[in-house]
Symmetry: C2
Subunit: 693 residues, 2 copies
């Protein structure tokens, strides 16, 4: 569908200009300079030619079929120009001009107008208020864009609404000497969307890795679905900005959107299998590695170096990012001892010394490529004047081109003095970085993607021992009475329908009933006043903990009756569980995405520590286990200091049941299971709240 | 003292070589190429000239006084050559050769030999096994070094034992177009030390900022003392590597040192007022800002941008690092509204739009420089082809040269196409970065240094209500009996001497005595078996908590007597405090530095969360308060969820008393006050251990 946008045979520019410093001129210059393989048609009512190319009065006069039209004309002329394009049978229009919805209601009306016309003719629109696209494929060389970065052909494609960041990223690749494939920035994105472009890049064989930047998602569900499908085939590396309140505000001010901090984007990235970055530099450096390197099969890195300190830095970064540095086998050590200089250090890192030769590097690389104990090879390479650095570079390239295991290189050199070395490594597809930390983080990203990709892909379990009808009835009844917040008995009824265990409870209307209920439940109990009209039960004396006798229960209820006057006042009697590990689960509806589910340690300490982890529904068994493992307090679940751990299988089951419940009841807006008490062999929800829409 | 090392008038090279790829040749080439302003004397027994310069058979034949000699000869010839230098009256020797202590005992003996000879003649040695020094001062141009980075003159000086990392950092500045001043890498550092060089750089007016890299410190106390004195006058930016166990191992393997993780280096950095970095890239980027920018007076940043997304990224990074983005005043907004394009966004960030002109940028900069609400100005500057970018660059430079407030610039450009812009900004001393995150982190580092520098410098309080003699006696007595671990009564005696409050306690020998003690203390109590021979009291049933009656105490003691057979068995009866916030304090001797002191939340949760903070003795009142504020659980100290906080004044007092105790008793190796129970109006140590040397 987008093929003729990204691989056009002909490009016309409506608003082509003879003025050097205008976009209508620049786009034509860029097409020419970049060596566009198709035809270029300037459209200008008064000029005969633009940049030496014959110009036409109208798009209708162009003698050819037009795949892509650039529009660089004031907003108010766009609808008619779109109409003309429709007549002409144009396939795509890139609207570079601004002045549409980003400026207010008048512009929005024009946007609506031209979009309707385009749709009538089946024309696809990129933009408006956008940069356009670039395709560096030698068969195309389309620079349908007014920016200034002229990429070498490469394997990285870039897509973002924000032209500013897309261009920064693009520029960074160019300065690193890393080629790019397709570039697309679609501004207001009224028609061709980010997910649609992602899908196209997923199908594009020349794209090995996709880089994207977002400040928020227009259609999160569609984005997630598409990204997940694409990410299953090739890596997507993404960064989300506007993470701080101030950042979100800045994002809103330049996109005209609403300022809001969101956690959903991160969850979508995770769920879709997108590798997420918080630093655009790290993203760029990682992408350069993904462009040429295979994905490792594990996290075990071998380091080869000819200088000490930078290997220490690389080691710190790799280990800090979850990689390990296996020891060399005895045989390998003996072999390297005999091959390298006597003073060389044959550990991991292997230090071949500054005087180390190409043969020394080669021996180390061969050993690590052959040895199954290593998944990746990290090269530190400083270029001393007294060795044959170009030969070392050639050996690195030779091993890299075997594509057995991923390699990255911290090349510590003067790019001017040692341009030969730089060129050999670049042309040989070795990702090179000037700092050890950068190279190490790029390698760590490859490993992290391996971990992401090797996550068990399993169907989400649907429990059959549940009673969705019962839960549905409870929710429908509450909705029919216009209530947003459910009563405790309703909440527990829903949990019960999904077999989420709740500490034993009964409802009572009088002190005597409460005492009888307590006896059935077994002491100690807690008594809570329950009435739709009572919101802050505990503030009003409506909660009595740890009641150990019938008389204590009767007294507590009698006191509550005095303190709280409500016609629907009842008493909720529940088993009191003083021990157990306090946990929380919860959920919040995310528009179009289901629910964000939270899990964490409960209690006052952890309220302060905020040790929680999020996921999106539906939650699979693996994801539930990952959630348990992801909190900092995970050792408490497993048991520390000789204490027994808690029933983690039951907890993962509850998370999955909670997920099923939320999927069945999309009306649930917020849900809190807080606290949950977990024991070695059982788990109980002790308090819970649900609000519905 | 080091002046003639860093500003030599004459350099001789013993081991000067006619072979191009030898260090003995390269050093001479580097001196010539870099434009050394002094005389160069190759010393070679057989060559008449080296690189066109007359060579001498012996250092004794050189016709001039020699400030610096390079030695590039095998280790075994070095002692005699040093002897010759002594005869000649040479001031400094840079020994580039290796083969000394880093290779084993034989080399170590040679090292000892030449050092003794040098000292006899008053010659100072840099190295051996080192790169040497560089001084880019136009009056000197000394490249006494065999590396390949030729720096432009600048204001950053670099010093490190590790030549590998020093060179990487140096190279990075050169690639950024940032000049450097003095470079020194001293390898084995048998004589001229890092602290000595730091002191020299502190006195060097041309050095505005010092960059250093360490993997460990030879003489921590000296380093800290010197660094603190220097850092009081100019910024020191440092990175420590070998942070992970594996990294420490890698560091040990290339320095021949011992692998150990240390926390002391970080504490030394903090105590000395050194800005510490964990990422060499961040350090480099920050140094470039320190080189030309004034230190801000606060953390309030104004952002000016001509593109949206990159300003969002910068905002996230700045806010995440503790900066704030104040709003523009109404007057300012109105003024900018009238000055900028109508579509411009006059918030903070101010977006002048891609079409924004030099006048627009200037207006925004002037406003932020004048307005007292801003401490720093952050510029985002992409170079669209359709505006006069060089004029914008010139305005940025003009404002920068006022040096009113620090500025950094995220310059998003193609350095080749827009070399004019790049050069204007570089020559104008504007620190430029290609990525918004990099620029923002550099700015944040300026702000962090401001915070560091404005810490209250106060004398450490010495409490006069203490009894150091009493504590000294306890320690001396234990040492005289050869014990390393103190008995509970001794520990509490020491705490008592420093008026660190301990939960009431008494010692008892029999069940009856214990019951009587408990009655005096007040119930409930805890009873602990106490005997030098009993290490794992609690494992052997030697601890009984929460005893509420005399009979319970008697029974507990009787049982312990059965379970634990020890001639010196006594019973430690102490007030039981079931409530209160559980905290820990502790200390560990750090060779040459006093003690590292730790403070944190106690209990099982926090054992898992490891929410602790360290400092070095002596601890001032401000530092103690900073420690309390630095733990993640700090809100618990202040009080959360309506709970009362704890007595923080008393806690800071205890930390200071602990510090005084440790200073008076340097024999203490380790000390644990765990737990400490803190209440709204009091604090008690509940259990404590001390081990001595």
């Amino acid at each position: 569908m987008l093929d003729s946008l990204f691989r056009p045979r002909s490009v016309a520019v409506i608003g082509a200009s003879t003025k050097d410093l205008s976009i209508g001129n620049r786009v034509i210059k860029n097409l020419i300079d970049f060596g566009f393989t198709g035809a270029v048609y300037p459209v200008n009512p008064s000029a005969d030619e633009v940049r030496g190319i014959k110009a036409y009065k109208s798009i209708l006069d162009c003698p050819d079929d037009i795949d892509v039209v650039h529009m660089v004309i004031p907003a108010k002329f766009v609808p008619q120009a779109v109409e003309d394009c429709g007549q002409k049978g144009v396939k795509h229009i890139i609207i570079n001009s601004g002045g549409f919805s980003e400026t207010g209601s008048e512009g929005a009306a024009i946007e609506k107008d031209f979009l309707a016309r385009a749709q009538r003719y089946g024309i696809r629109i990129l933009g408006p208020n956008c940069q356009g696209i670039i395709n560096s494929d030698a068969a195309i060389r389309a620079y349908c864009n007014f920016t200034f970065t002229k990429p070498d052909p490469g394997f990285i494609s870039i897509v973002a609404l924000s032209g500013g960041v897309a261009e920064v990223v693009h520029q960074a690749f160019a300065q690193m000497g890393v080629g790019t494939r397709i570039y697309a920035s679609n501004g207001n994105a009224v028609d061709v969307s980010i997910p649609e472009i992602l899908r196209y890049l997923g199908d594009d064989d020349g794209t090995r890795v996709i880089v994207t930047y977002v400040e928020g998602l227009r259609d999160p569900a569609n984005f997630m679905r598409t990204a997940a499908a694409v990410a299953a085939r090739k890596p997507i590396l993404a960064m989300k900005a506007g993470r701080t309140r101030e950042g979100a505000k800045a994002a809103a001010s330049h996109t005209g959107g609403l300022a809001k901090e969101d956690i959903a984007t991160d969850l979508i990235f995770k769920k879709a299998g997108i590798l997420s970055f918080r630093d655009e530099g790290h993203l760029i450096q990682a992408a350069a590695a993904f462009a040429t390197q295979p994905i490792p099969k594990g996290n075990r890195v071998g380091i080869i170096t000819n200088t000490g300190g930078p290997a220490v830095i690389a080691t710190d970064v790799l280990v800090g990012a979850g990689c390990t540095l296996p020891l060399l086998s005895e045989t390998t050590r003996a072999f390297l001892k005999a091959t390298l200089y006597p003073e060389a250090s044959v550990g991991n890192p292997v230090d071949v010394l500054a005087t180390g030769t190409a043969q020394h590097y080669r021996a180390c690389m061969d050993v690590m490529m052959q040895d199954d104990s290593f998944d990746c090879v990290f090269i530190n390479f400083v270029t001393p004047f007294f060795v044959d650095n170009e030969s070392i570079a050639r050996e690195i390239v030779a091993v890299n081109q075997q594509r057995r295991k991923p390699m990255v290189c911290n090349l510590m050199t003067d790019k001017q003095q040692w341009s030969g070395v730089v060129n050999i490594l670049r042309d040989g597809g070795v990702p090179c970085y000037p700092l050890p930390g950068e190279a190490a983080r790029a390698m760590a990203a490859l490993v992290q993607y391996h971990v992401l990709r090797s996550r068990e892909k399993e169907a989400v379990q649907r429990f059959s021992d549940v009673k969705p009808d019962k839960a549905r009835k409870i929710v429908d009844k509450a909705r029919s009475t216009g209530r947003n917040s459910l009563a405790a008995a309703e909440v527990y009824g829903i949990l019960d329908a999904y077999r989420i265990p709740v500490a034993k409870w009964r409802l009572a209307a009088t002190p005597a009933e409460a005492a009888a209920a307590a006896a059935k439940i077994g002491f100690p109990v807690v008594v809570k006043a329950d009435a739709a009209s009572v919101v802050h039960k505990s503030d009003m004396g409506g909660v009595a903990l740890n009641l150990s006798s019938a008389s204590a229960v009767r007294n507590a209820v009698a006191q509550m009756r005095k303190a709280i006057i409500a016609p629907d006042l009842r008493f909720f009697v529940q088993k009191y569980l003083p021990d157990g590990l306090e946990l929380i689960m919860g959920a919040k509806a995310e528009e179009g995405l289901g629910h964000a589910v939270v899990f964490g340690l409960g209690g006052i300490y952890v309220e302060v520590m905020q040790d929680v982890v999020f996921n999106l529904t539906p939650v699979s068994a693996t994801e539930a286990r990952e959630m348990l493992a992801a909190i900092k307090g995970a050792p408490l679940l497993q048991g520390v200091r000789g204490q027994k751990g808690v029933d983690q299988d039951r907890l993962t089951g509850i998370l999955q049941r909670l997920s099923q419940l939320l999927t069945d009841l999309p009306e649930i807006q917020e849900m809190d299971l807080n606290p949950i008490k977990a024991f070695a062999d059982k788990v109980f929800v002790v308090d819970a709240r649900i609000s519905i829409k």
